[in-house]
């Protein structure tokens, strides 16, 4: 019993330390990138891609926010952007389908990388699979030209 407790205390503290070493610098780097306008840059890169999905090019901005910041923190901004840019319901659905499969990708990847998993493998797989999946969804969902009403 004492043995097990010692194992739990030492092991858990070690894992937390390992994760803190990766997550804290990553979060600082992300704030720096945000202030350098990185989100807009990512949105620019995503614009041609969302066009392939048949989405309005402005969809790229809420998509970039979700990919980087995540669903829970990003949800408010995503709603706001959807309203502001008058995205169609289909656009919003596709954004959500992409984001449920890939969101907060840097944070999630970092905590798995702390356990030794290859970060680039995780990141590339997740983003490309989410893109393929969204493309398939874009073919499957019927276009309703209704605007978003949130």
């Amino acid at each position: 019993m004492v043995e097990a407790l010692r194992e739990a205390v030492v092991g858990s503290l070690n894992s937390i330390k390992q994760i803190a070493i990766i997550v804290i610098p990553l979060m600082i780097a992300m704030e720096i990138l945000k202030d350098l306008g990185f989100l807009d840059r990512i949105a620019d890169w995503l614009s041609p891609i969302v066009r392939i999905f048949g989405m309005k090019k402005e969809s790229a901005f809420p998509l970039a926010i979700g990919i980087i910041i995540g669903l829970s923190y990003g949800a408010g901004i995503i709603f706001k952007a959807a309203k502001e840019y008058q995205l169609s319901r289909k656009d919003l659905y596709l954004i959500t389908y992409f984001l449920v499969s890939a969101h907060a990708v840097f944070e999630d990847t970092a905590i798995f990388a702390a356990l030794g998993v290859s970060a680039s493998l995780l990141l590339l797989t997740r983003l490309s699979v989410a893109a393929i999946f969204t493309f398939l969804a874009s073919k499957a969902i019927k276009d309703t030209e209704k605007g978003v009403n949130l």
Binding site: A8, G11, A20, V23, A29, K34, G37, S72, K80, V117
Partner: protein, 145 residues
């Protein structure tokens, strides 16, 4: 829009440090109890029983039976909790990589499905899609890694 292009100031660094500590704190809060529970379970026959029961199913993904615990915890609670379970079990790097990709696609179902529902997607279709991606990516990683 919410993130205007500013210059990098000490405020940037402070915000980054704060959110880094916040993530670490959230993680520690969730991870610690899971890590303790799983470690204590390891010293009882319970974990063995779970492992044996799920061994055939998890074997499909090249995972040991106790990995089922990680997938259940990750889906019902969140990734941090899953990390706690992974860290307390003795898994190989390949096994952790398979779990990582499966969990990346499918985790925190109660909270995240609620968000997707708010946007208007049906809970069933979102969960089905995420589980399908998790299963396919798990199979692929097992074959390719």
């Amino acid at each position: 829009m919410p993130y205007p292009t500013n210059s990098v100031t000490t405020d940037t660094l402070k915000r980054g440090l704060k959110s880094g500590i916040e993530v670490t704190w959230q993680l520690a809060k969730v991870m610690l109890p899971i890590y303790f529970t799983v470690t204590l379970l390891k010293h009882t026959p319970v974990l063995d029983a779970i492992a044996r029961f799920f061994a055939p199913l998890m074997g499909i993904f090249g995972l040991p039976g106790e990995a089922a615990l990680v997938l259940v915890i990750g889906n019902l609670v969140n990734l941090y909790a899953a990390i706690g379970a992974i860290a307390s079990l003795s898994l190989s790097l390949k096994e952790i990589s398979i779990l990582a990709i499966m969990l990346s696609f499918c985790h925190s179902l109660p909270v995240e499905t609620a968000l997707a529902k708010k946007i208007g997607l049906s809970a069933v279709s979102v969960i089905a899609a995420r589980m399908a991606l998790a299963v396919l990516s798990g199979l692929a990683f097992n074959l390719l890694l």
